[in-house]
Amino acid sequence: MKYALFLGCTIPARARNYELSARKVAEKLGIELVDIERFMCCGFPIKAGDIDSSELLAAYNLCLAQERGLDICALCSSCTSALAEVAHHLSLDERRREQINERLSAVGLEYKSSPRVRHFARVLFEEVGDEKIKVHLQKDLSDLKIASHYGCHYLKPSEVHDHFDDVEDPNSLDALVALTGAEIVDYPLKKKCCGGPVLPVDENVALSVTKEKLESLRDAGADALCLVCPFCSVMYDGNQKSIESEYDTSFKLPALYLTQILGLAMGFGRKELGLNMNVVKTKKLTAKIGL
């Protein structure tokens, strides 16, 4: 199994714990991730400002993978969605494809057909599969209660992700976490957005969306939250302390990436998975499993 690894902007600069743990997990499972130096921003961050330019950036990145005959595996949900959406759009719209190709010729690229675009978690869920993952799990996480945050762009718009999971009753992340033996926690606000995209516009609105969900997780008794997107992590991990002080409340809920959770079950150490880089402390959590 071989993929071009699409890191995007946020992960290599701000979420090295995610990148580190994903590379470890991929290596263990025999997924070859190829780095393409020329990849740029996926286009998602400028979609609200300039949709044409955002599509051009996505098409540029798709072309670089297509040139090498590789499908794309992305770690960020927004990157996955932005690239998959443009691939979907261009497969249906020949005129738009021509316009894009005119622009891409400036950098010597031509969009012919799109590579497949997959989120890392989807690759684990659909392609690697339970049996192959279980072979590599050494540590039992049954003392942990873990809830998953699916977020938005990991699943939606559902047609660009081939409806691979049920938007109204998603299960792929819970199924992967369950392989570790951890107890799966369901909670009323499971499907809600993290609020992240509004952060640069209105911090209060963004943080109160995040706060609602943290309350729902606390009430459900989760020990930790499982994430698959660095934007969501900015909200639940990076901003958790400011939410606590703003609303005079306490959560202390470790927010781990799926790859850190799987990595723990695979027997990797805290540092190998970048757990020391998580903002909300994870020591008490890992002490429960003897680390």
């Binding site: 921003c41 400028i46 718009p157």
Partner: protein, 154 residues
């Protein structure tokens, strides 16, 4: 979002929107499923996607494009996935934002992001310090500059 003043309507606005994806807003029958699904409406009653659609259908272009509320949409797609009439509400919201920025209305954060990505190719350009930290963590280095972006956006 106060009361709607129909006298300010711009009939061409709906036509402008109809050419874009997310423009099938005429199909909306005001069931408010989108409002019930929206994480922003849940905490801020002022934000109401069904009402924004009504306003657009009435041609209230200036009022929408100048508003602060269109920027509160997180693009979560909860509304779009559930709309019984198949209105691409999230895409519609994105087009409104695109139109607003062209008319000179946009929050500074959004403007800054646009400038950064079109200039540097990344929202967080990589510098030597980042690569040092990457190296320490055992991660491969990344390029600290991007030529292609300049050629793409000449």
């Amino acid at each position: 979002m106060g009361t709607i003043d129909l006298d300010q309507g711009d009939p061409d606005f709906v036509k402008e929107l109809a050419g874009q994806s997310g423009g099938q807003i005429r199909a909306c029958f005001t069931c408010r499923t989108c409002v019930a699904s929206c994480p922003i409406s849940a905490i801020n009653r002022e934000f109401n996607p069904a009402k924004i659609i009504r306003m657009a259908l009435y041609g209230l272009k200036e009022e929408i494009l100048k508003s602060a509320f269109i920027w509160l949409c997180t693009t979560c797609y909860a509304c779009q996935e559930r709309c019984p009439q198949g209105v691409s509400i999230t895409d519609f919201m994105t087009h409104l934002k695109n139109m607003a920025i062209k008319e000179g209305h946009a929050p500074p954060g959004i403007r800054a992001q646009l400038k950064l990505v079109k200039g540097e190719g990344r929202i967080y350009p990589i510098d030597d310090f980042d690569n040092k930290k990457r190296n320490k963590a055992g991660l491969p280095p990344l390029p600290t500059s991007c030529d292609a972006i300049k050629e793409l956006f000449l």
